[in-house]
């Protein structure tokens, strides 16, 4: 037995190193294979990086270096490394083209957009018009002033909603400080069922197409007379909620809208209570006549109560046509018209005062940087007798999408002097030269048709 044990022990003792050696060799082989694989991977990575480097090197520098602010320069031969030559006076005078700068996103970046719009306007008119405060920018005749400096913040709140906040400042009275006001602040629910959306907060109401457009984005220096007469100088901005529905079964685009608001607008309503709210409605249709022509037709209604507790209803129409030739970056021809029919209970009797106003407008933009057009305004006054008409030809110069200058001449005639004769002046016939300079800094969302 002992002999057997000794033999077994001897055999194990003899075999053990051999097994260990075999195991070592196996482990080494595995390690070698792993190293080989790793080397192959590294080789592939190096090849891929070399290829990428080669591709990048065969291209010009990724982005031009920021030019010195005082002396922008043109790119010289040989790419970015070439010699830079200063611009000639012609180059300095040459306007720049639009471009889009979108927010870069990433860690530490803002998750919403910020934009600033500045709108400066000026007015030159007769002395008697200035005395009567009867010019386009009431009480700010013969002045140049910031009408609207607006800070916009907008973006997605979460996957279901977005929000927009606009804070603005501007000169309301000559020489007075510029107060800051909340122009708009609303949230929009984007994922409601059955093609509906809701918007709630303080907003420019979708009454007609131009009421929602901010002053700096209007195609004219001033808001049309009919809006100023029936809804006040800044149009209709209300606090409340509105819902829209876009049906998907029609062969053309149709949007139906309904809203409930406080009714704070003092020119048309003014009670400002939800007990007797301002109710609004709008239906707008769009017809794509051809690839280059589009027509939008809308009708709006707003019904509320005035501060005297009298019923006030506004009915509106709007039409807009655009012709944008194939491949053009801007429309060649834009035509538009809007009108408001007002029905308001008269104080003291049961009768209703019916008043109407409208405007028609045409604009030609044969070159990217230049546009010219004219607007005809004709309107009655909601609270008094009389009628006024005006014609306003204008010229717009757009050095870029974000910078614009406009000049206009406006001739207004009124049937009555009453109401436009403050301080012994007269606003019966008004001739004005209007100027506008507008800039946009930062983000600005694209505009709808």
């Amino acid at each position: 037995m002992l002999r057997l044990i000794a033999v077994v022990v001897s055999v194990v003792a003899l075999l053990a190193p051999a097994v260990a050696r075999a195991q070592d060799a196996e482990a080494l082989r595995r390690e070698l294979d792993a190293l080989k694989r790793q080397q192959e991977q590294y080789q592939k990575a190096i090849e891929s990086l070399s290829e990428r480097l080669k591709r990048l090197e065969s291209q010009p520098a990724p982005a031009p270096a920021p030019p010195a602010p005082a002396a922008p320069v043109a790119q010289a031969p040989g790419g970015p490394g070439g010699q830079m030559t200063p611009l000639s006076p012609m180059d300095v005078a040459r306007p720049r083209e639009p471009f889009s700068l979108y927010q870069q996103r990433g860690a530490g970046q803002l998750l919403f957009d910020i934009g600033v719009a500045g709108d400066f306007v000026g007015n030159l008119t007769q002395r008697n018009v200035e005395k009567a405060n009867a010019g386009t920018f009431g009480a700010r005749e013969n002045r140049f002033f910031p009408r609207e400096i607006e800070l916009s913040l907008f973006g997605q709140i979460d996957p279901y909603a977005r929000a927009e906040v606009r804070i603005e400042s501007g000169e309301d009275e000559p020489g007075a400080g510029t107060g800051v006001t909340l122009a708009e602040a609303y949230l929009q629910l984007l994922t409601l069922p059955y093609g509906t959306q809701a918007k709630l907060g303080q907003m420019r109401n979708r009454f007609g197409w131009s009421n929602v457009v901010h002053e700096h984005d209007l195609p004219w220096v001033d808001r049309p007379d009919v809006y100023r007469a029936f809804l006040g100088e800044e149009g209709l901005t209300e606090k409340g909620v509105e819902a829209t529905w876009v049906p998907d079964f029609l062969p053309f685009y149709l949007e139906v809208l309904g809203g409930v608001f406080n009714g704070d607008n003092e020119t048309a309503f003014g009670l400002g209570r939800l007990r007797a709210p301002l109710a609004t409605g709008r239906v707008v249709a769009f017809f794509e006549l051809t690839d280059t022509m589009g027509l939008q037709v809308g009708t709006s209604v707003a019904n509320g109560v005035t501060s005297d507790r009298l019923q006030s209803t506004l009915l509106g129409y709007d039409v807009k046509f655009k012709y944008r030739p194939e491949g053009w970056l801007h429309p060649l021809l834009t035509l538009g018209s809007e009108g408001i029919y007002s029905m308001r209970e008269a104080p003291g009797d049961a009768s209703e005062k019916h008043r109407f106003g409208w405007y028609g407008w045409a604009e030609l933009q044969p070159w990217r940087r230049w546009a010219f057009g004219a607007r005809y305004d004709g309107t009655q006054y909601p609270g008094m007798a009389g009628y006024q008409w005006a014609i306003e030809p204008y010229l717009t110069f757009l050095p870029s999408e974000f910078l614009r200058f406009r000049a206009a001449y406006k001739h207004t005639e009124r049937t009555h002097r009453d109401g436009f004769d403050a301080n012994g002046g007269s606003g019966r016939v008004v001739d004005e030269l209007l100027f506008q300079a507008t800039f946009i800094l930062g983000a600005h969302p694209a505009h709808r048709f």
Binding site: Y160, D248, Y253, E288, Q296, G327, F449
Partner: protein
């Protein structure tokens, strides 16, 4: 009463079968922001999708007008395919106004094809608007680089499968078939471009950088002063001199660029201005993705020889 109940249940069952049949037969409605993506989505989606584009190949995608007719297309869409990197940022306005919950940002039907694309010309310095139309996220004109088709179509297939998971295999099969066809064409294109490899070209706007890189060509200069900014006479003189010195034979132009100007510069420099298929449908004969690339390869390989 029992009979009535049976009748109602039978009607409901029949309606359910019919509805499910109709649903199965219904094609997925997809809207692409640009025609290149329409073509690629059709290749991936095959018979299972019906694709519309918001723009035409003859339009400048940077500045498309947001028309309500776009919103109507989007209202009916099950999915929207967007380029991303700021090229079609205007689509956000149309999408938000389309009242379609499934395609708003974050919705399952929102497909961004720039995901995983190796972006070129990403600015490495601070950018501002004095530099022209600089895209802070990099050059967004990558859709007509055939080498990026696998990534783009993968994004499309994944997005479509999010909307109809049951069709994932079919989308992948279509994608593979398309990529195989593209591979065959790629061999032909590479051969055609081989003799002109390394040649320099001038472009009007930096739209072709991905395409040129893919085939080993070099973008030597742009006619625009800075991206999106039209050329000054001084800049043109500089470019003409460079073209003469470096014997550059071609200026690549998009259909909506100032072709007359490009022709004048080319004439001065002893070169040719080539109106390229900057997108599917931009020129006659470039009706789909492969045809557009084929057109560009044919045009360049002949002109640069």
């Amino acid at each position: 009463m029992k009979r009535l109940l049976v009748l109602i249940l039978s009607v409901l069952a029949a309606a359910s079968v019919l509805t499910s049949g109709a649903h199965a037969a219904r094609k997925l409605k997809v809207v692409a922001t640009i025609p290149d993506l329409k073509s690629l989505t059709e290749a991936v989606g095959g018979d299972l999708v019906e694709v519309e584009s918001l723009t035409r190949g003859t339009q400048n995608f940077h500045e498309a007008e947001v028309r309500p007719s776009m919103m109507l297309k989007l209202r009916r869409a099950d999915a929207v395919v967007e380029n991303g990197l700021g090229l079609d940022a205007w689509a956000d306005v149309a999408i938000d106004a389309s009242n379609n919950a499934s395609i708003v940002r974050g919705g399952r039907g929102r497909i961004d094809i720039s995901r995983n694309v190796e972006v070129l010309e990403v600015p490495s310095t601070r950018v501002d608007r004095s530099m022209g139309d600089v895209h802070p996220q990099g050059n967004p004109h990558f859709s007509l680089d055939p080498g990026l088709a696998p990534v783009i179509t993968q994004n499309i297939a994944d997005g479509l499968a999010r909307v109809t998971p049951e069709n994932r295999a079919a989308f992948e099969q279509n994608r593979q078939a398309f990529l195989a066809r593209l591979e065959t064409e790629m061999v032909k294109w590479t051969k055609a471009m081989e003799p002109v490899k390394g040649a320099k070209v001038v472009v009007f706007h930096p739209v072709y950088v991905y395409f040129l890189t893919r085939f080993g060509l070099v973008q030597a200069a742009t006619l625009e002063d800075r991206p999106g900014i039209p050329p000054s006479p001084q800049h043109l003189v500089t470019v003409i001199r460079q073209m003469k010195e470096e014997k550059i034979k071609a200026i690549l132009v998009e259909p909506w660029n100032d072709v007359k100007l490009a022709n004048r510069v080319a004439e001065e420099a002893g070169a040719k201005a080539l109106v390229m298929a900057s997108a599917v449908g931009a020129v006659k004969g470039a009706d789909n993705y492969i045809a557009a690339i084929d057109y560009n390869v044919g045009m360049l390989s002949k002109a640069l020889r």
